[in-house]
Amino acid sequence: MNEQDHTAPGTEVTPTDGHGSAVRLDEGHVVGTGGLPERFTNPGLPTHVPRMADLDEAAARRAEKQVATLFGISILGTLLFIVLYFALDVNQTVFVPGVGETSATNVGLGVCLALSLLGIGLGAVHWAKTLMPDHEVVEERHPMRASDADRAEAVRVLTEEGGKSQITRRPLIKYTLGGAMALFPLGLALQVGGSLGPMPQKSLSLTWWNGGPSGPGEEPTFKPLRLMKDPENEPIKASDVTIGSVFHVMPEGLLPNPETGEGGAKHLLEEKAKAAVLLMRLDPSQIQSQKELAWGHEGIVAYSKICTHVGCPVGLYEQQTHHLLCPCHQSTFDVTQDCKVIFGPAKRPLPQLKITVDDEGYLVSAQPFREAVGPSFWERGQ
């Protein structure tokens, strides 16, 4: 059955059989509408059905009591809120079934507040539904547009009255005003735009591994820095790094003394955000990249921990597969292939930090990162 096959109104409807005796014109056997309107007419508002409370005074009184009870619950809720505010200690906890051990003031005050609000709300709505008039009211609409006369008047005022300013006759005023209006925001925009922050200069391409502070305007000179455990701030002996182990590493001098909290970088978080490194030891036979082997030390390799996608710390190391996974957007880097991206939205491998050992057997950096760490930026190849 396809409604598309319906004959359009006003065309012949095929009779189905010989049942063709006298029929009314509007029954579709003739060409033409048969006097039928093109559309159905709106039947008008349905008749109003009275509610219980409209007919029965007892029902109305019942509704009144229900509404009053709800308002009463609200009053009780507020009073109980006040009592609990003074009675409860801020650190008290309470066991709530289904929620667990939780803050007593949070549950107590929250539930009381909810009661005091819901009582009012449900009471008012119940009142409106049971007792207030439920006769629907009809309001007329009028087209949004103003009358033609009003429109013409508005145009006249704009052009004729506005024209009295002579702006159209005096182009010098018109163009200088236009120029002035177009230019005046520039000063304000420059003030805010120009003073928001310093120019990045080289700071996005430098890290603490370059030899020290690497903020805008700094020019660190390279010196070998020991790899320090984060957060203990202790140097790492190559012999302590067993195969399969992983260390969170910061450069020497960046972290403050964990005991006293003194020393360390002036801009601690800014330096940490660039200098964080992951140190792993693999069986050298598993490492497929010659450069990776050469930049490491007997299978100990150090890579930037800052994801090359949008800069989250690449926190998850899968020991078995030697994959590094970024928890933010799941870029996956293969440590055996020089931290090449093997899955996810990142494009570039994690930069490797070239390391070696010093005279005492501690791991030190052999050179700074050879490229900018972290997310891409327009001029990073410059």
């Binding site: 309107p37 709505v125 629907e136 949004m144 964080a276 996608h309 957007h329 494009k347 327009w378």
Partner: protein
Amino acid sequence: MSTHTTTDGARPADALRAGDGPRHVAPSAAAKKIGGVAGWVDDRTGAAKPVGYLMKKVFPDHWSFMLGEIAMYSMIICLITGAFLTFWFIPSAGHTIYDGSYVPLRGQSMSEAYSSTLHISFDIKGGLIIRQIHHWAALMFIVALTVHMFRVFFTGAFRKPREINWVIGTFLALLAIIEGFAGYSLPDDLLSGTGIRAMAGFTQTSPVIGTYLVYGIFGGPFPGEMIIPRLYSAHVLLIPAILVGLFTAHIGLVALQKHTQYPGPGRTNDNVVGYPVMPVYAAKAGGFFFIVFGVIALMGALVQINPIWAYGPYDPSPVTAGSQPDWYMGFADGALRLLPGWLEFHFLGFTLSLNIALGALVLLPLVYTVLGIYPFLERWVTGDQREHHLLDRPRNAPTRTGIGMAGITAYTVFMFAAGNDIMAIKLGMSINDITWFFRIALFVAPPIVFWVTKRVCLSLQRRDRDTVLHGRESGTIVRTPDGRFFERHEAGLPEDQWLLVQHDAVAPLQLEPEVDEHGVARPAARKDRLRERLSRFYFADAVNPVTPAELAAAHHHGHETEAIEAPAHAGEVESAGAAERH
């Protein structure tokens, strides 16, 4: 009141006709009292007329009209609780050592923002409930406004004259999620800090100006100490001011243009049928504010939200697994997860990271731009210049409903993609497979959903026609004297059938003939051909409502059985056995 009396008194006697009584009964004591205070105000402002008009204003009733109300009330709750929170929150990244009552973090170095948020949560009595209500209300605000947008879209409420309000609404929706992001970033905990880290990362990748932009926003290298106070100023001052301003315009236009209504008996394009503000809507809508507030308070009391103390202070080197933004940022985060890395290009020493820019910088404005221009596009395609105050039933606009569902599907794919790691863990599946599934679903699912939705709508419309043409199946089987069986179909009452036939018939636009009346070729502009194609896409397979003529024809059709069974009720019985039924 007194003015009225004076006017009446001054009225010429000849204006009165037989049977005219006094126009006003003496005001009651209560009315006098209100009149006294209100009179004082009215003497100075003339507010009586607009207030009287507003109090009498009629609003139509429907459950779906509450969605916008929920959004409005959630926003107000955010404003109230947010003002409370500003009394204790310290918007500073300055370092401090925590010594509050949350033992696990005591002695830790952290920002004042984080420490003061802990303070609100553990040391201010009732501070946690206000914080939780604030966060829940913000989530509720964005859920409600999103579903409200669905309602407006699928019922065609954005059509003329309401296009401006739709555009204002899309701005509100966009601002709301930015406001939400700024808000949940303020506590400076590890989770939200990771969100800001990602924000810094993708700002930095914007072509040409990225590094200047990120140093400008952060006042230097990430994270710096400026971002918290700047987000605070945006969160409590700049964005709320615009939100409240646009919202006032939004609700003002609703009052000016009068609310749309669903079709039904007595409801036309030229009227509003419903209840007046005084007393019914004042009680219902006013009461509903308290219900929304109450429900959110209950959520704040019983359901924990954003336990920042569990995440620890922000530090750029650690990270928590399963880092997710609040749900409304999920679609942008999901897009970042789905975009493949090969979209990053290197040329002439420059780096263009489309793998990030498309998801983080383009998608968000793109979604809201597409939403904003949809009414204008549909109006152009349909060529419909009329005002519409009666809502469409979604089935009666199958193509629009299909487009909307396809859009929601694409959005949902993005949003669920932001949870690919959680799914991988919970379902024990490979995250690579899940990501690939979403990548493919993004292109395959929306067209399928469009097609299915459209077919469902068309089928529902056909069923509506069927109901009107053939009545409803009654379940009563009638046996004719010669042994045939048929089911009696009841013709519904005109009043319930009105809903099924009230909408306008539609047809695709016709191109003007290619040659004019003189036989001169009139090449159709490319624009016109596109418009005609789009119009066919919208309306080619339209199912139009039953017309009176069709109904009369259908009723006549049933006569052969009726003649046997129920001659007195011609037209109410339809032969089910008649194979030639339409």
